[in-house]
C-alpha cells in the first residue's frame, strides 16, 4: 500500500457497562498519538445511530481508511460496524473490533486500573493489526430456495407450512414413522382445553397435501456438508417393508396380522400389530412392518393383493438433498424418572408419568379415555401429582424449569375433576409457575374445582403392597410440618430432557449445546432462533424446554428468518479464505491432505484454493512447510503484530 493507513479509534462507554470499570477517556488518550491514528474518541454508545453517524462523518472528514471500534464482542456487533464501513464506501474488512466489555470490564470489575491497562494493550494490538488489514473481495453466490426441517413435531410442522406458503420447497425429515411429535400424544392442551389431535391433525394433513412439502419419515440425517445457501444433506430412509407410493393406508393388512406388540407411541400401555401405523391419524398414512416381531406369515401380502405394497426385501435408502437453509426442530424427550428411586417409578405400578396420563385419559388411548389404574383396573378416587420431577433438580443435572409441567398438572387435575367430580386431587409443588397468557386464570379456575395445592417437595413415596395405594411424604410448607397423604394413583409431572440423539446431531450440524444439553442459540435475546452456523436455525424444545404456544412462536420466527435469508436470492460467501502463493508452493500436497473441505486442488504440481469450498479455518496456512499459504484476514503478519504488541509498553 502506498498511502499510510489513516485510522479512527472509537472507544465505547456502553453506558456504565464499560465506562463503569475501564477509564475510557484514558484509553482513547493513550492511543491518540500512535502512528497512523488520525482520530481517537470515546463515546457513550458507539453502536447507536448517532455513534454510527459519527464514524461515517469522520471517515468523510478525515479520509479514514481503517476503523477500530473498542466496545463489545465482535460476535455481537462486528456485522453492525462492517455495515457502517460499507455504507461509507470502505471495504468491510478494514474494521477491527476490540472486546473490552465481555472480555475486560465485565470480568475485571474489581480491578479498574488493571482493566484499563489491559484495554490499552488490546487497543494497541488492534491498531497495529488494523494497519496490516487488506480489503477482501466480496463475492456473492446464488442460494437454493429450499429448506430442510429436521423434526416433524408441532414446531417443524408450523415452520414447514409457513415456508411452503411463501413458496419455498420444504423437506420435512422425521425420525419416527409419523409426523406430529409429542403434541399428537396429548389429550388436551392448556389453557384452552382444545383436543390436541383435533387441532394438530388438520395441520398434519395439510403438510402431507402441500405440493411444496415433501415428508421423509422414518429417516435419519447422515451427513451435512456445504454452507449457508448451499447445504448438501444426506438422508437415510429406514426400511418400512412397505412401499410408500403403493400403500393406500387402507389398513386391510393390519386386520389380518396375527401379531401384537406394545405400542411405544401409547407409552406401551396399548398394543399395535406387527404391520400397522402407530396411531390412526398418522401422517404419512403408510403402514410399516416391525421386522423384529413379524412372523413372515405373509397374510398381509395376501390382503394387500394387487396393490403389491409389501416388500420384505426393502433396504435403507440414502438420498441427497440440496437446501439453502436448515431448521432444527427435534424437540425433547420426557424425563425418565427411574433414577429418582424415592418416587418408586418403575417399581410401584400406580406411579405413572404425566405423558402416560395423557394416553390414559385420551378417548383414542388404550383405555378409551377411562381413567383407571393399570394395576387392578379400578377407578382411582384419590390422585396426586408430584411436580418438578426431572426439573429444577441439581442432583440429576437438570437445574432448569421445564416450563410446561405445572400447567400440565393443573390441566390434568381439571380433567380428573371433570370426569370424577368426587375425586380428591392433590398437587404437590415447589411453587406453581403459571406465567403464560391465560395461565393464572386457568389455575384459579381449577382451584375452584376443589383441587388441593400443597406447597412442598415430596420426599418419598411408599406403596401398600396389598392395595397398591401410595403414601406421599411431604413437608407442607404452608403448615410448616410434615404430612402424609394416601392416594390411589400418583402422577409424576416429568420435565423435558434433551433428546438422546441431540449430541450426535449437534456434531453433524456443527452447532454447540448449552450447559443443560439443549442447542445453543446465537444470542439469547437478539438472535434466539439463529445458531452460530449461518443458515441453520432452531425451533421448539430442542433449544430449551417450552410449551406448544412458545414452540409455534419460535417455529414461525425461524421460518421468517429462513425466508429473509433465502428471498434475497444471493448471499455473500466467506471472504476470509486461503490463498496459495504459486511461486512458493512446492506441490507437496500437505494442504490438500489436511483440508476438511476438499478446497485444495493440485494443478501443474502447484496447490490452489477452490474459493467456494474453503471454510476459512486457516489450518492449511499453519501446516504449509513453505509458508506459501496466506490465510486472508488472519495472515501471519497480522497475527504476529498482535503477539508483538500484546505486552509492549
Amino acid at each position: 500500500m502506498i498511502d499510510k493507513p489513516r485510522i479512527g479509534v472509537y472507544v465505547c462507554h456502553c453506558g456504565k457497562n464499560i465506562a463503569g470499570v475501564v477509564n475510557v477517556e484514558d484509553v482513547a488518550e493513550h492511543v491518540r498519538n500512535m502512528a497512523g491514528v488520525i482520530v481517537a474518541k470515546d463515546y457513550r454508545y458507539v453502536c447507536s445511530d448517532p455513534g454510527q453517524d459519527m464514524i461515517k462523518k469522520d471517515i468523510r472528514d478525515y479520509q479514514l481508511d481503517r476503523i477500530v471500534v473498542v466496545a463489545c464482542s465482535p460476535r455481537l456487533h462486528e456485522p453492525t460496524f462492517r455495515r457502517v464501513l460499507e455504507e461509507s464506501g470502505l471495504n468491510p474488512y478494514l474494521l477491527e473490533m476490540v472486546n473490552i466489555r465481555e472480555q475486560c470490564s465485565w470480568v475485571h470489575m474489581d480491578e479498574p486500573d488493571k482493566a484499563t491497562e489491559k484495554a490499552k494493550d488490546l487497543v494497541r494490538m488492534a491498531i497495529l493489526r488494523s494497519q496490516l488489514l487488506e480489503p477482501l473481495e466480496i463475492k456473492e453466490v446464488k442460494v437454493l430456495k429450499s429448506v430442510l426441517i429436521v423434526g416433524g413435531g408441532v414446531s417443524g410442522i408450523s415452520a414447514a407450512l409457513d415456508l411452503a406458503e411463501m413458496g419455498f420447497k420444504v423437506y420435512l425429515v422425521e425420525k419416527n414413522e409419523s409426523i406430529g411429535g409429542h403434541m399428537a400424544q396429548l389429550d388436551k392442551t392448556f389453557p384452552s382445553m382444545d383436543c390436541s389431535i383435533c387441532i394438530l391433525g388438520p395441520k398434519m394433513v395439510e403438510v402431507a397435501r402441500h405440493p411444496k412439502i415433501k415428508i421423509i419419515s422414518h429417516a435419519d440425517i447422515v451427513r451435512v456438508e456445504g454452507y449457508v445457501g448451499n447445504f448438501k444433506v444426506k438422508i437415510r430412509e429406514n426400511p418400512r417393508y412397505v412401499i410408500s407410493d403403493r400403500c393406500t393406508g387402507c389398513g386391510e393388512c393390519q386386520e389380518v396380522c396375527p401379531i401384537e406388540y406394545p405400542n411405544e407411541w401409547d407409552i406401551n400401555l396399548g398394543v399395535r400389530k406387527a404391520i400397522s401405523v402407530p396411531f390412526p391419524q398418522a401422517v404419512p398414512s403408510v403402514y410399516r412392518i416391525n421386522i423384529d416381531y413379524c412372523l413372515q406369515c405373509y397374510k398381509c401380502v395376501e390382503a394387500c393383493g394387487a396393490r403389491e405394497a409389501i416388500d420384505f426385501g426393502q433396504k435403507p435408502k440414502e438420498t441427497e438433498l440440496n437446501v439453502g437453509a436448515i431448521i432444527v426442530a427435534i424437540g425433547f424427550e420426557p424425563y425418565e424418572p427411574y433414577q429418582l428411586k424415592e418416587y418408586g417409578y418403575g417399581t410401584y405400578q400406580n406411579v405413572i408419568t404425566n405423558i402416560e396420563f395423557e394416553r390414559l385419559i385420551n378417548a383414542a388411548g388404550p383405555t378409551e379415555g377411562k381413567l383407571i389404574r393399570v394395576s387392578d383396573m379400578k377407578v382411582p378416587h384419590r390422585i396426586g401429582f408430584i411436580q418438578c420431577v426431572g426439573s429444577r433438580d441439581e442432583r440429576i443435572g437438570h437445574i432448569y424449569c421445564s416450563r410446561f409441567c405445572c400447567m400440565s398438572a393443573i390441566k390434568q387435575a381439571r380433567q380428573i375433576k371433570e370426569k370424577l367430580p368426587e375425586a380428591e386431587v392433590y398437587i404437590f409443588h415447589t411453587e406453581p409457575r403459571t406465567f403464560g397468557k391465560g395461565f393464572e386464570a386457568f389455575f384459579r379456575k381449577t382451584r375452584e374445582y376443589g383441587v388441593s395445592v400443597v406447597r412442598g417437595r415430596a420426599s418419598k413415596v411408599l406403596e401398600d403392597p396389598e392395595t397398591g395405594n401410595l403414601t406421599v411424604f411431604v413437608e407442607d410448607l404452608s403448615l410448616g410440618k410434615p404430612v402424609e397423604v394416601e392416594v390411589d394413583l400418583l402422577i409424576l409431572s416429568v420435565g423435558m430432557s434433551p433428546p438422546k440423539d441431540l449430541e450426535s446431531l449437534s456434531r453433524t450440524l456443527r452447532i454447540p449445546r448449552d450447559p443443560d444439553g439443549f442447542l445453543l442459540e446465537a444470542h439469547p435475546k437478539l438472535r434466539p432462533v439463529d445458531t452460530h452456523t449461518a443458515g441453520i436455525f432452531l425451533a421448539g424444545a430442542c433449544q430449551s424446554p417450552k410449551d406448544i404456544t412458545d414452540s409455534i412462536s419460535q417455529a414461525k420466527a425461524a421460518a421468517a428468518s429462513v425466508a429473509a435469508l433465502l428471498s434475497r436470492g444471493k448471499i455473500r460467501v466467506e471472504s476470509m479464505i486461503a490463498h496459495v502463493n504459486q511461486d512458493l508452493c512446492i506441490g507437496c500436497g500437505l494442504c490438500q491432505e489436511i483440508c476438511p473441505y476438499q478446497a485444495m486442488t493440485i494443478q501443474n504440481k502447484k496447490s490452489k484454493t477452490i474459493p467456494a469450498l474453503c471454510g476459512g479455518c486457516g489450518t492449511c496456512a499453519s501446516t504449509c512447510p513453505e509458508h506459501a499459504i496466506t490465510m486472508k484476514h488472519y495472515t501471519n503478519k497480522q497475527i504476529l503484530a498482535e503477539v508483538v504488541t500484546a505486552f509492549q509498553r
Binding site: 464482542s73 470480568v107 486457516g618 508483538v644
Partner: protein, 137 residues
C-alpha cells in the same frame, strides 16, 4: 513490600467455541485475573508454532484454546492444533523451558466458567514458575 510478580499470558482462541466461551464468562460476570491478552483466530488449527514461539519471547505463558475434539467448527482443525502444541512443548523441554508455560485447553461456547477457571489456574501456575527467562522486557 515488593510488588507481586504479575505474569503475562497470551491466549489464542478460536472464534466459535473458546472465544464464545470467553464472552460467556463476561456475560455471566465471572471474574478472572486481567493478566491475559486474547488473540482471536477463526480456528485453533490456525495456530502456527511460530506464533507460540514469538509469544513466548514476550509473555510468561501461552494458552491455546479450541473446540472440544469432535466439536470443531471446521471439523478437524483442533486435531492439528493438538499435534502442534505437543511438538512445541517437546521443543520447549529440549531448550530447558518449563513445558507448563504452554497449555492447550478445549473450551466450548457454553463453558464460560471453564474459561475463567483455566485463566485463573494458568496465571497462578505462572506466578509459581516466575518470569519466563526467554522473555525480553
Amino acid at each position: 513490600m515488593a510488588e507481586e510478580f504479575e505474569p503475562k499470558l497470551i491466549a489464542f482462541t478460536c472464534n466459535w467455541c473458546s472465544y464464545a466461551g470467553a464472552d460467556l464468562a463476561g456475560v455471566s460476570r465471572m471474574q478472572y485475573p486481567p493478566n491475559v491478552r486474547v488473540i482471536r483466530l477463526m480456528c485453533s488449527g490456525r495456530v502456527d508454532p511460530i506464533f507460540i514461539l514469538e509469544a513466548l519471547k514476550r509473555a510468561d505463558g501461552v494458552l491455546v484454546t479450541g473446540c472440544h475434539i469432535g466439536d470443531c467448527h471446521y471439523v478437524s482443525g483442533n486435531l492439528h492444533a493438538e499435534v502442534r502444541v505437543k511438538l512445541v512443548k517437546k521443543a520447549l523441554e529440549m531448550v530447558g523451558l518449563e513445558p507448563e508455560r504452554l497449555k492447550l485447553e478445549w473450551i466450548s461456547a457454553s463453558e464460560g466458567e471453564k474459561f475463567a477457571r483455566v485463566i485463573k489456574e494458568m496465571v497462578d501456575q505462572l506466578k509459581k514458575l516466575g518470569k519466563n527467562p526467554l522473555r525480553d522486557g
